[in-house]
Amino acid sequence: MDTAVKPKVVETETEAEKAPVLAVSSGDLGPKMSTPTLKITREHISSAGIVALSLTIGVLLWHFVTAINLDFYINFENVPSPLRVFTAFVAHVQTEIFWTHIYVSMRRILISYSLAVALGISIGLIMGRSRIARAFIMPYIEVIRPIPAVAWIPLAILMWPTEESSIIYITFLGALFPIVLNTLHGVEQTPEVLVRAVQSLGASRWAVFRHVVIPAALPSIAAGLAIGMGVSWFSLLAGEIISGQYGIGYFTWDAYSLINYQDIVVGMLVIGFLGTASTAAVKLITKPMLKWQERTR
């Protein structure tokens, strides 16, 4: 496929019909498109500006309500100010144990999430292609899915040999369902006409799966992966709060036990940031697989 012609210059349209909807901006028509140049447009700058403004306003408001010890239905007297949280954060960053907490949490996420991805996509694909498998597995998903991670804690501790494995189990379970259901949904979206088209081109069952069903499901799978990553973070925290001695969830819970208010907020914000960053990473990784969608929008 790489051997296709690579014209240097885009020739002018000689088509008798209407010009195609899209005109490529560069002369590169090679099959492996060079990575699209990151164009920073006026809109990008302005929305980045709005984000910065919004965050500034948020922090200022937070500072304001804590500075005047606002107590109007909601009580802000015991909420630490942004400055105290920031000071605490800077202090923690310099300790080794803080990084251990983050490292341990990240490792748990990585293990649980990888398991959920492998198993979730497989189960979803099988359910999507086999009516029997679907009817067999679906009831378990329906019943187990609404059970919150926290509710699993006692049983997980009893079932699994180590604390670590029970935490990973709980986290895994959180990520699993969105991935399974989105994969299943994606497989169901496969247009029948495409299946027929490739069958008429001589595709075997496996080739239909590989070249039609999986690519058709990919956008939905990618969405499931991003959602799964978010869910795995709050499941992880539930696991870490009850059992464990390291982890950013444990750090936050420990701060609560010690009535160390600013550390609670530090923990919360670190969780928020790690969750956002890892979801963004998932989106970045799945993006090249959906390149065709971008170019056809």
Binding site: A16, K18, G30, V193, A197, S200, L201, H211, W292, R295
Partner: protein, 278 residues
């Protein structure tokens, strides 16, 4: 120069003399029991190798169902479809299919779409690529090979669809209202270029349409179908000279053939209307 970059005339020999279709006492019923719906009434049909046949009829008359039976997507309830003596049981690359629209794989480039069939047939990347280029050139879209389907206009997509079906050197080309979604000008152009391609290849074509002009312009034979239950009510031979161009539409012979088809359809729909009101 690399082999793939060279344009080679498609090798017509591979499919020549093949593509004889025999529809033998075929009827197709969907559902069962009370919900059973007879889509195609017992039909027999012989299509010669290399013939261009249009199946003309209103929507819902079962013309696509009959085509799908030849393609192998639908199994006849009774009877059998044979292509070159072999009973059709499932879809296969010997019967190329062109759909109304959106049947190219959107995640593959135009080039990859056309190379797909040859690859499935076990050809190497180079061979498949060479075939893809040959057929893209045939439909005049070689320089669009690296675009994704959605980047092309509807007419161009259909030409890719035709190139993709032909790349397997099928003995039969089945077309299900392939130009139905195109605007009038593009459709005329596509009809002309389809005839040109067919002239080069000589494959059997079974073309489903509800457009009388399209059927008369393209076909050697127009099979007129009627609805509820679907059956062929007339087999009209169109003896207009070839090669045909759009100028043909003003000749008296064309007008006569067209009028005959229209009259048949009209008489049939009047009868159906009266039956309903009786």
């Amino acid at each position: 120069m690399l082999d793939v970059l060279k344009f080679k005339e498609p090798d017509r020999g591979k499919s020549q003399g093949k593509g004889q279709i025999k529809v033998d006492e075929v009827s197709i019923t969907f559902g069962s029991g009370k919900d059973a719906h007879l889509a195609v009434e017992t039909t027999s049909l012989d299509i010669k190798a290399g013939e261009f046949v249009c199946i003309l009829g209103p929507s819902g008359c079962g013309k696509s169902t009959l085509l799908n039976a030849i393609a192998g997507y639908v199994n006849p309830t009774t009877g059998a479809v044979r292509v070159d003596g072999e009973v059709v049981e499932k879809p296969g690359p010997d019967r190329g299919m062109v759909f109304q629209q959106y049947s190219l794989l959107p995640w593959k480039t135009v080039y990859e779409n056309v190379a797909f069939g040859p690859k499935m047939a076990g050809h190497t990347r180079t061979e498949a690529g060479s075939t893809a280029n040959t057929f893209l050139e045939l439909v005049g879209l070689k320089k669009f090979g690296n675009r994704y389907p959605a980047e092309l206009s509807g007419g161009m997509q259909q030409r890719v669809g035709i190139a993709r079906a032909l790349a397997n050197y099928p003995s039969v080309l089945l077309m299900d209202e392939p130009f139905g979604a195109l605007d009038a000008q593009t459709r005329l152009m596509m009809q002309e270029s389809l005839l040109e391609i067919w002239n080069k290849f000589g494959t059997t074509v079974v073309f489903v349409t509800h457009d009388v002009d399209e059927a008369v312009f393209l076909a050697d034979r127009v099979l007129i179908m009627s609805a509820a239950p679907g059956r062929i009510i007339e087999d009209v031979r169109i003896d207009l000279p070839r090669p045909r161009t759009t100028d043909l539409a003003s000749t008296p012979e064309y007008i006569k053939a067209r009028q005959f088809c229209l009259d048949t359809i009209k008489a049939e729909s009047r009868k159906a209307f009266e039956d309903q009101n009786a």
